[in-house]
């Protein structure tokens, strides 16, 4: 994955977000915005439990979901069976990242840490990456631009470029952990080498299952899944859909080579057909 970096390649790092200890304080959301200068994007009260952020987007790189359920956290107790699931979502930094595949300018790139980052001075706002992401993470910023445009291509007021979590690329370069992980008071957001995190997650899952936690599972840990495993994966306490996550995400460019092949064959057939028609017609 990082062969092209040669000696500059680093161990692949990522997040393990353990939602069983998330207290829903949203410190990750605030720390992320503070560090990365992500703008506030609307004072809208949603009524969706305590979630007034709603989803990830150009101006939200960490989003804490709140899910109220009439089910017990452990076992099958019936008295006052309530649980309030909280989970801090983030860009998955996929092993096979479609956003990166479709980017025509090379603005999206894979860093020496194995993370996926947008270079804002190169992004031309084409938006191909937006539908390519199976999670709806990457998004165009429909807010006024703050800095002077780097390229004359985008001169209108609206920013128009795409933005998402960089896994705090600048902090990693300086040897620091990402802002959200640093701010998390309960170590729900754990940062580190991906292999270590996977090991830790397996142990954690085994513990929770032994303690009879309902619905505990890992999400995005498996390198054989549709995106080759997440760089930022999760321990959830229910089906991914409950948290607004796709159950079985697949890299949207998975079928592209095949599609190109089919298209090439079809195009070839058309050419052959036309040639045949002409050849035949000359008779």
């Amino acid at each position: 994955m990082l062969d092209s970096y040669g000696t500059e390649a680093q161990e692949r790092v990522g997040f393990f977000t353990d939602t069983s200890v998330c207290i829903g304080c949203k410190a990750c959301e605030v720390a992320c915005k503070e560090w990365n200068l992500v703008p506030e994007d609307g004072l809208v009260w949603t009524g969706e439990s305590y979630d007034n952020t709603s989803e990830l987007g150009a101006n939200t790189w960490r989003h804490v979901a709140f899910v109220e359920q009439n089910e017990p956290l452990h076992g099958d107790r019936e008295v006052d069976a309530l649980r309030w699931l909280m989970s801090s979502d983030v860009c998955k930094h996929c092993t096979h990242a479609a956003c990166l595949d479709v980017c025509p300018t090379g603005s999206l790139f894979r860093t020496e840490f194995g993370t996926v980052v947008v270079q804002e001075d190169i992004c031309n706002g084409c938006g191909y990456c937006v539908p390519a992401c199976p999670f709806g993470v990457i998004d165009k910023r429909h807010l006024p631009r703050r800095d002077a445009p780097a390229l004359p291509l985008i001169t209108k007021q609206e920013d128009g470029r795409v933005w998402k979590c960089t896994l705090c690329y600048d902090r990693l370069k300086g040897g620091h952990e990402p802002a959200c992980a640093k701010a998390c008071p309960t170590e729900s957001i754990q940062f580190g080498p991906l292999d270590d995190l996977r090991e830790r997650a397996d142990e954690r899952l085994a513990k929770l299952q032994a303690e009879d936690w309902n619905g505990a599972r890992l999400y995005g840990r498996d390198p054989d899944d549709g995106v080759g495993g997440f760089g930022a994966f999760f321990l959830l306490l229910d089906e991914p859909e409950v948290y607004g996550l796709p159950p079985d995400p697949v890299v949207t460019t998975r079928d592209l080579p095949g599609m190109y092949r089919s298209a090439a064959i079809a195009a070839g057939a058309v050419v052959l057909g036309v040639v045949a028609a002409f050849v035949g017609g000359s008779r």
């Binding site: 959301e29 008295v79 006052d80 008071p185």
Partner: protein, 844 residues
């Protein structure tokens, strides 16, 4: 209980999560299922305002099932002490203790004393003019007890005497059965018993358990007694002074602990030394006599007090002028914040300085506070932003309703911008009594200045103006030592130089003191706060130490500095048995090393280092020398923890379940409904709903959200926080929503006898209805962060609440009061007061 720790103390809550991960059972007992409940192993719903019934039930369970920690109780608490034969319990007098004076509305506490003690008399509440007798007179943890030497006159070590504390306790709580608890609190009997069992298991030689509480316990008309009930449980279970035990008062702000230690309170001087009173302590001798306990560490009162005067007044304070005692300011009444607001309303208080507070949003019956501010001649507000308390004269609900007219308000308002904590040096004192120093990160902008800068330069200018004054009243100002060095272009005073004075020095040599045991009563030492003495020991800022925990020991003794004497756990002598041995290997903390003849352990022992466990005080012993070697509670006159409090409390020696000022229910236990000693202020601006009123049938409770801080001045102005909780809302159950026609996401008007507010509706199963006294009651949750200013605005929940106070600490009852609710937005303009008035008429 009484706290929403995950939401309001998320950083401290990480340790609760660690405990859960290590197998601890964590209970959250609360009216709402909050983010804290979601993280705990168990949640028990209760009715807001019923905690004493619940905790009293636990006391009864412990006693009824013989689950107390016998050795601890017999040796370390006042369980064996026999009480005056005249004492009568609430069980005898249907909700009153003996000594009730219906005319004064107060207790005469003489019958609550230990039997056989010569000195009877009133105690506490110095401010209201009681004449204290020898060795009494403090509200703080028993400065004394009138004991001639450390032992109470009459005791029964078998705990069988009918008038011993243990038996009185049994009798007092006998009717607090699980069934009564369930009926009063609205929880189930099974849940309650399960809770009791878990609590009892966290006791004994091998195990401990802790309570965490916050203002959910404090803010009631019987708030102090809520906490008292927990102290009884923890004493019975042997959970004080031991690792993993305790009652943890979670603070709502980074330095609330600091602001009581070095107080912003009206009735104490630094280190909990009582403020002189006009009537009580007319002269120096009676002040000293009243506050110096013959036994226990308060026997050194004079050393602490004289050192404070030397810190204040230097060479001007001498033994010949009684250290300037007669010039000190006096208090003459309650003088608390609420009382002062009422005096403003009456026109007797003319000027007011508000710093770090926003009464127009944060105090109960906020409307009354705004009306009061409008009566002032002048008002100074120092804050980081222009808060509602500064803008009331042109932007408030009363301006909107026409009750106040800007042009008619004569108050001259001075708004002085304050520096944030990042813009100044200083220390925070957290809930663990840990002083943590922080350094300035950036210069304050524009005219923003630190509190230290403001008060230092204000003092300097006043001193300059009065330099030539011959008036006697200016003596103290002229005598004040006020020579802190300054730095930077704005002449910021050096915060460390203030901390050095707080820590204390020898007057002659300027040598830094090691701690409070070095303080002298002859004027040879100066110390700004005796409990903080030693925080600059050896000339090193001990509070700035930041050695990480992985580089040091179990108690992290080199991280910052804990008062007193860098002791991380108070009364830790109790972590060893009476002979000085650890109760168990697993729970060892501080113990007696017989070979070396000293106390040692993992923490600084909270006991005189060389006092043997078998030490028996001679008859003529004084101060700490009068405390026996097996009595760990060294600040108490008898060295024991008090299950029964003979004096120091206004409303009873034992906690009793009373209903809140406003409640839909009668008292399940007594015909006396509410705390008879509570402070009420019945007046047109502060009407109360009648108990059981059908117009205001629901129990309201106010609280904070993680995303905002108290009255919102610091957070409603920050975009990143405002977007996370951008509107005032109320939490109601689906059943209540159905019953009243409320729609999720719509608007509701919530009204009380005071006024009406509006809020968005959040329908949630997290605030379920309860079965109490055989009928269903609904609760309504109201975050109290909003006001008219900032990026996100909304009505203030505290507008709804009344002023009725706890008699010991004068705190308001924010956590349980009566309201009604209807769908839709509230009336605007003059229609609002009309709407409220019509409801009041309907209520009668």
């Amino acid at each position: 209980m009484g706290s929403n720790m995950a939401e309001n103390h998320p950083v401290g809550f990480q340790w609760v999560m660690e405990a859960r991960e290590r197998g601890a059972r964590i209970f959250h007992v609360d009216p709402r299922f909050t983010r804290t409940s979601a993280m705990c192993t168990d949640w028990i719903r209760i009715r807001a305002g019923s905690d004493i019934a619940f905790l009293g039930g636990v006391v009864n369970y412990i006693l009824g099932h013989e689950r107390w920690f016998d050795e601890y109780v017999k040796h370390y608490t006042n369980a064996p002490v026999i009480i005056d034969e005249e004492f009568q319990d609430t069980e005898d007098l249907d909700g009153f203790f003996s000594g009730w004076d219906p005319e004064k509305g107060k207790y005469d506490v003489s019958t609550w004393q230990y039997a056989g003690m010569e000195a009877h008399g009133a105690a506490g509440q110095r401010e209201e003019g009681f004449e204290p007798t020898k060795g009494e007179g403090s509200g703080h943890g028993g400065h004394s007890g009138g004991l001639e030497h450390g032992e109470p006159p009459e005791e029964d070590p078998t705990l069988q005497h009918p008038r011993c504390v243990f038996q009185l306790l049994k009798k007092h709580f006998a009717r607090y059965t699980p069934e009564l608890v369930a009926e009063t609190c609205g929880c189930s009997v099974e849940q309650f018993v399960d809770y009791c069992e878990a609590i009892c298991e966290a006791s004994g030689r091998e195990r401990t358990g802790a309570f965490c509480y916050a203002v959910g316990w404090t803010q009631h008309t019987v708030g102090v007694q809520y906490i008292r009930t927990a102290t009884i449980i923890q004493q019975l279970l042997g959970n004080i002074g031991r690792p993993g035990g305790g009652i943890l008062a979670l603070r709502g702000h980074a330095s609330i602990q600091g602001s009581t230690d070095i107080p912003t309170l009206y009735n104490i001087l630094p280190g909990y030394l009582p403020m002189p009173h006009t009537e009580t302590y007319g002269d120096f001798e009676s002040y000293m006599e009243a506050n110096t306990s013959p036994t226990g560490f308060w026997g050194n009162f004079k050393s602490y007090w004289v050192s404070l005067m030397k810190a204040y007044f230097g060479e001007h304070a001498t033994p010949r002028n009684d250290w300037l005692f007669k010039h000190l300011p006096r208090i003459d009444d309650d003088n608390s914040a609420y009382w002062t607001a009422l005096q403003m309303l009456d026109g007797t208080v003319k000027g007011y300085i508000i710093a770090g507070e926003n009464p127009a949003v944060g105090n109960t019956n906020s409307r009354l506070h705004r009306l009061a501010l409008a009566k002032l001649d002048w008002l100074v507000v120092r804050d980081v932003v222009e808060i509602e308390s500064a803008s009331f004269w042109y932007d408030s609900p009363e301006i909107e309703s026409g009750e106040l007219v800007t042009g008619d308000i004569a108050t001259e308002v001075f708004f002085l911008p304050a520096a944030a904590h990042t813009e100044k040096d200083g220390s925070f004192t957290n809930t663990q009594r840990l002083l943590q120093f922080h350094w300035q990160a950036t210069e304050p902008k524009g005219d923003c200045r630190s509190d230290l800068w403001f008060y230092f330069h204000l003092g300097r200018l006043i001193k300059q103006k009065l330099a030539d004054s011959e008036e006697e009243r200016d003596t103290l100002i002229k005598a004040l030592r006020w020579d802190y060095p300054t730095h930077s272009a704005i002449q910021e005073p050096d915060a460390e130089s203030v901390l050095q004075e707080v820590s204390g020095r020898e007057v002659e040599t300027g040598v830094f003191l090691d701690g409070y045991t070095s303080l002298k009563d002859d004027g040879s030492t100066l110390c700004g706060c005796w409990i903080y003495s030693g925080c600059f020991k050896d000339g090193i800022n001990q509070t700035a130490r930041k050695k990480p925990l992985w580089e040091q020991d179990y108690v992290a003794a080199e991280w910052a500095w804990a008062w007193p004497d860098n002791r991380r756990l108070l009364y830790n002598r109790a972590s060893a048995d009476p002979d000085g041995k650890p109760w168990s290997e697993r729970k060892k903390y501080v113990w007696w090393d017989a070979e070396k003849g000293e106390w040692t352990g993992l923490d600084t022992p909270d006991f005189e280092k060389d006092k043997e466990p078998g030490y028996v005080p001679p008859d003529d012993a004084e101060a700490q020398d009068a405390i026996a070697g097996d009595h760990p509670f060294i600040m108490q006159a008898d060295g024991r923890a008090w299950l029964f409090v003979p004096h120091g409390l206004e409303d009873g020696p034992l906690p009793t379940h009373y209903e809140p000022q406003e409640s839909p229910f009668e008292n399940s236990l007594y015909s006396q409904r509410a705390n008879p000693r509570r402070q009420q202020f019945e007046r047109p601006e502060n009407p109360y709903a009648a108990p059981g009123s059908e117009v205001y049938p629901y129990v309201a409770t106010t609280y904070r959200l993680t995303e905002h801080h108290t009255a919102g001045g610091m957070t409603r102005t920050v975009p990143y926080l405002s977007e996370l909780q951008p509107a005032m809302f109320c939490e109601v159950s689906p059943e209540l929503a159905k019953e009243t026609g409320l729609e999720h996401g719509g608007w509701a008007t919530i009204y009380s006898a005071r006024t009406a507010i509006e809020a968005r509706v959040l329908v949630t199963d997290r605030i379920p209805p309860l079965e109490v006294q055989g009928r269903r009651v609904h609760q309504i949750g109201l975050p109290y962060h909003w006001g008219t200013r900032g990026l996100t605005t909304g009505d203030a929940a505290n507008d709804l609440d009344h002023i009725a106070l706890d008699p010991n600490v004068h705190i308001q009852e924010s956590k349980a009061f009566s309201v009604g609710i209807v769908p839709g937005r509230r009336p605007r303009g003059p229609a609002l007061p009309r709407f409220v008035e019509e409801l009041r008429k309907r209520a009668g």
